[in-house]
């Protein structure tokens, strides 16, 4: 089996006494899109920085195509680090000119990308006058214009309008179809649509890795509860004791062996006749389960994904890019 495009083993990164990344294992197969999913502040950016070679791990190893990342010298990968790439006092065009000279494999693809992203008309404005979404567009266009086999994208869609996310995905998929491997960090469930596999990072470690289908299949029954009092009562009956509000309703996960009727009866007994129903899990439910609920559960109730491509809590031997 060939080396994975990118592999991290036991990566730990400390700043002073604080461990930000605590023993993360992760591998990105050749020609695969791997989504690293987790909430803000859990060390995704630090892990990506270690994978990109811009931070040296306190412990552990990082390899690109089987060689230590430090020896690669940035030839095989390109790293989009949110909010640091674009120089605010330069225009978009000047930024493109700057980055085009930094990497010998920079191509003029950025001209097409800025057209795709509706940014071409704003290239002569200084980045300090860009919105957050416009800055993300420029960062993505410049990053994906470099011809390298591996891309690491730190929350590329953060702050981007929902209507624009598909175009971001199209650009990433274009590079993927050209044979590249892509590691994308995100806390937006929508980005799950992109992934061949998803790695979940709810804290300083990677706790589950699997195909979106395998991870989704392992999500417990999702229930939707309506009404403030009913939601408060239902929290005693769902996994992790937590429901996730959305408008006037909230969603949670039923423990194994618990039926919707059981919860409905419990709410009725408490005097709440509010509707409770089981619903199909969405990407947002999957995100909430793996990021916010699963780690607090006893192992027996976790329902680990075990399908093809899933390899929770281990360094996976990647199964390739088949989505």
């Amino acid at each position: 089996m060939s080396d994975p495009a990118l592999a991290a083993r036991g990566v730990r990164k400390e700043y002073g006494a604080d461990g930000v990344v605590e023993g993360a294992d992760l591998a990105v197969a050749d020609n695969e899109i791997l989504l690293l999913m987790g909430p803000n502040g859990v060390g995704k950016t630090v892990l990506l920085s270690c994978l990109a070679g811009s931070e040296r791990p306190t412990e552990g190893t990082v390899e690109v195509f089987g060689d230590p990342v430090a020896e690669d010298g940035g030839e095989s990968l390109n790293f989009l680090l949110q909010d640091t790439m674009a120089v605010e006092t330069l225009t978009g065009r000047e930024n493109a000119d700057f980055y085009s000279r930094l990497h010998p494999s920079f191509t003029d693809r950025w001209r097409d990308y800025v057209e795709d992203l509706d940014l071409a008309g704003d290239l002569d404005k200084r980045v300090e006058h860009y919105s957050e979404g416009m800055t993300r567009k420029l960062e993505l266009a410049l990053t994906m214009s470099v011809d390298v086999p591996v891309y690491l994208l730190d929350e590329p869609t953060a702050g981007v309008d929902l209507s624009m996310i598909q175009r971001f995905h199209d650009i990433i998929l274009e590079r993927y179809e050209a044979g590249a491997s892509v590691l994308v960090s995100s806390h937006r469930p929508m980005d799950a649509d992109l992934a061949d596999r998803i790695a979940v990072m709810p804290d300083g470690t990677v706790t589950a890795v699997g195909t979106p289908e395998a991870l989704m299949d392992a999500v417990p029954t999702v229930v939707r509860v309506t009404g403030t009092d009913a939601i408060r009562t239902a929290e005693d009956h769902v996994l992790g004791g937590r429901l996730f509000p959305l408008g006037g309703e909230a969603r949670g996960f039923l423990p194994p062996g618990t039926a919707v009727e059981d919860l409905r009866d419990a709410l009725a007994a408490a005097g709440h006749g509010a509707p409770v129903e089981a619903i199909e899990p969405t990407s947002a439910d999957m995100f909430n389960y793996y990021v916010h609920v699963r780690e607090g559960l006893e192992p027996a109730t976790r329902g680990d994904p075990d399908a093809d491509g899933a390899a929770p809590r281990s360094v996976p031997a990647p199964t390739g890019g088949d989505a």
């Binding site: 920085s49 940035g74 006092t89 330069l90 980055y99 000279r101 010998p104 191509t107 057209e115």
Partner: protein
């Protein structure tokens, strides 16, 4: 999606010319930093307006009532302009350059750059070209304003222009490396600015206006022909100001003007040592690589 055209790389990565990649990177950094420096109003104020303002204040207020013969007055103005111009160049090299680096460090921009196949020396060289350009403009700004006020500048020898440029280059390199040290230790652009402006102003006054008036220097006068701010100032003044009397301290207090070869040699040593230190710090601290390639 638009139809894709045939995309081309800017530089063929397989062309086996590492110098071409280094040159492209150095140029990219030089252009970027020059754009940033010359667009920054605070930088322009401290590097250009502040020294020009002080020059005008000096000749209109501080020299008012001084018993200066009319035939010496143009040379006095010229000598004064050189000291303030070199002060502006110190501000440009030290404060503006250092603040720019500290801002990049604070913004974590080097997390991005360390993942690229970048040459730290190309980064440093590009930064220095931009800093040197601002330093030269800072000197020329005061000289230009001074000419408008009647200051008299004369090239002492045919080689005076290259001598001035070499002295300025070595001088700027030294102060820019001091700025690299301050920025990498402090990392906060606000503190870096306070420290570097303090160093620039302190060194100016403590060395008798960058060696322009040795009588104001409390140390041994000969030291002014060795210090990295006063030596090049005196050298530049010697090559640009016709009359030594009352100008940049040329022969005041019996202090000999530094010889051109001596002055350039000392500055070359300063610059070489500074460059070695600056490159080592850039590689080790900024890019987190080994000191040696």
């Amino acid at each position: 999606m638009v139809a894709r055209s045939e995309h081309t790389t800017r530089t063929d990565p397989r062309d086996g010319r590492p110098f071409a990649a280094w040159r492209d990177q150095a140029r990219a950094f030089a252009e970027r930093y020059a754009r940033e420096l010359f667009r920054n109003k605070a930088v322009l104020f401290w590097s250009l307006a502040f020294p020009v303002g002080f020059y005008l204040l000096t000749i209109t207020v501080f020299y008012k009532g001084a018993d200066i013969p009319a035939d010496v007055w143009p040379a006095v103005k010229a000598g004064t302009a050189v000291t303030y111009g070199m002060f502006g160049a110190v501000i440009a090299s030290l404060n503006s350059f250092g603040q720019q680096l500290a801002m990049d460090l604070e913004a974590d921009r080097y997390l991005q750059y360390r993942a690229l196949p970048l040459s730290p020396s190309a980064d440093l060289a590009g930064r220095m070209v931009a800093g040197l350009a601002l330093s030269v403009v800072a000197l020329l700004a005061v000289v230009g304003v001074a000419m408008g006020t009647g200051a008299s500048f004369t090239l002492a020898e045919p080689v005076s222009v290259p001598v001035v440029l070499l002295a300025m280059t070595a001088f700027a390199v030294f102060w820019m490396v001091v700025a690299v040290l301050v920025a990498t230790v402090v990392r906060d652009p606000r503190y870096a600015s306070i420290i570097t402006v303090s160093v620039a102003i302190g060194s100016y006054f403590m060395t008798g206006f960058n060696g322009g008036d040795p009588s104001m220097f409390n140390g041994p006068a000969w030291l002014l022909n060795w210090l990295p701010n006063s030596l090049p100032t005196r050298l530049v003044a010697d090559h640009l100001v016709a009359s030594p009397a009352g100008s940049a301290g040329a022969t005041a207090d019996g202090l000999a003007i530094p010889g051109t070869v001596f002055g350039l040699s000392v500055m070359a040593v300063y610059a070489a040592v500074a460059l070695a230190v600056g490159l080592a710090v850039t590689r080790r601290v900024v890019y987190k690589r080994g000191v040696l390639p």
